[in-house]
Point group: C2
Amino acid sequence: MASDPARLAAIRVAVAGALERFLAGQREVLGAIGQDMLPWIDVMTGLLAGGKRLRPAFCYWGWRAAGGADCPEIYVAAAALELLHASALVHDDVMDASDTRRGLPAVHHQFSARMAAAGIDQAAAAFGAGAAILIGDAMLAWTDEMYHGSGLPARALQRGQPVLDAMRTEVVSGQYLDLVNQVTRNDTVASAMRVVTYKTAKYTIERPLHLGAALAGAPPGDLPATQSAASGRPQALSVPGTCTGYGLPLGTAYQLRDDILGVFGDPAVTGKPVTGDISEGKRTVLIALASERASVAQLRVLERHLGDRGLTEAGAAEVRAVITDTGALAECETLISASVKEAIGALDGAPITEAARQALTELAVLATARVH
Amino acid sequence: MASDPARLAAIRVAVAGALERFLAGQREVLGAIGQDMLPWIDVMTGLLAGGKRLRPAFCYWGWRAAGGADCPEIYVAAAALELLHASALVHDDVMDASDTRRGLPAVHHQFSARMAAAGIDQAAAAFGAGAAILIGDAMLAWTDEMYHGSGLPARALQRGQPVLDAMRTEVVSGQYLDLVNQVTRNDTVASAMRVVTYKTAKYTIERPLHLGAALAGAPPGDLPATQSAASGRPQALSVPGTCTGYGLPLGTAYQLRDDILGVFGDPAVTGKPVTGDISEGKRTVLIALASERASVAQLRVLERHLGDRGLTEAGAAEVRAVITDTGALAECETLISASVKEAIGALDGAPITEAARQALTELAVLATARVH
């Protein structure tokens, strides 16, 4: 058994290969409609080349945890989650009017530029947004197509279907609640945590694990349909219960790390503009913790800069100082450590394979490391 | 056997019931995430209450054509197409910045208004667009969930999957090519016809028929994956071949009728603003025919008004006059008649049930009538 960093690399290679083959097939399909459809494949290829492949990795280890054997089909089913995620990113970038993604111009900008380059400025921005919405729709539909075309037996796919369904509903719900928090300037820790539960913890870790476990035959009755991080310990004695006990706290830790990197991270490493999270006015748990602890003067600093599209580096530095001075940063780090510990603890004595226990322990550390 | 108008009414009732039960289930799922998710169900209920249910009707008759027996499950699978279509409409309205849909404010406006009513004007429009994108995503994902939860046997669903896949890819492709035509002001009849083939003819009629036929067990080998209206007669001796031979010309006729109604229709009947198609600059076949036949002066009229968001009724009247005077309107009517005749002719001697032949003949007339 290779240690996890090597194993994760192997998963990444297999997932990349599966995506490449799937897109090659779709290139044929789109090309038959018209050569002018092919830019879609180029744009998707660029987008899908990036990413940490965390969701497929957790899906794979959910499968292995429940006793599934290593086989080509599980990588294809797991890779379908990358299409789902890419769809969410493209639509997210339209909604947030983001400029870049994974080191490339956001998809809507790529299509606007295509028209602008053809000498058509007028309406190029609307065209870019429209194209991005449609490409996101295509990748969302293709999630399903790739999943059902993975070659796994029909019965396995049927077992996984409710998990895939739950996952998709939860992620759009989490994104919507996030939007609501942003527009209503809701800065309570509880509402930020609810967004984390649905938009990240379930979507990135718990559900991919559940999906893999269900595909491998873990009894679906154990799958808590609407278990949230706040509702206490799930049943740790089943595979899905273990996935929840591990996935929800780890997912929270993963998002908190992302919150910190979004404000304090090195843009060269994160691939995001350093002022992005602040200027977009994201109501993260980190920001909520700072708001709760802020003095009147500190609160005024936050209110002035959060959501300011013209944010300067000086303004960002002021926000960072508030986050540090209120103790919010330190508390976030404490929460991350405690959550990772809780996640790893959930693996103790759990009814999963030894290989999965080892891999999931290492993945917990990798997913929440200070730089990744 | 009831005559088709009555049968279509029965299909509509069954489809509405299936959607109502599905949304009741999703209300539970969303309510468990938070009560603040429930406006989604209200908005979807309003949206899904409208519509002619043509896609489910064609899916149902594809099933019956291939020998499927009337049963509750087929209505559920067919109703899933309404979710797909509602998703496309919501996203379309965001892309086109449309104000109304099916007599209600467009979904993005409904959500903008919700925030504006709560006293939050700033960013309300962006919030509305974001919410609409996410609701469209949810309905696109739920298409799949409803289809797979229809209760039809797993083998039947597997047979239908490639058709559902093709249908989703084709409709987003058609929408994209439509956007490209709009932004590049491409006004050739050929490019407008290609959009009609993918965005309407396949999506609204051919593929729903194919889906029903595949679910009922029609051999998938006969299914022409990328058959287009232009590529000649399909094999009329198989059920899928018949669906194509009937569906593509009928779908073209259906769209041409819609083109005419979009410019000449009574807003009280169509539910669309009378200047909508012109001010959105839609590059329809009707417009393409007019452009091809226009004099220099007439072309200048079209160029001045197409895509003019501030279009007046006087401007619209000028465009209507050009469409009539060039003979484009009359040619469109001729094309509709010929296409309907071709569609009905494809049913002659086709290997489908007598009930389906009768229903499809009547549906062809209903779908392309002057007012509907």
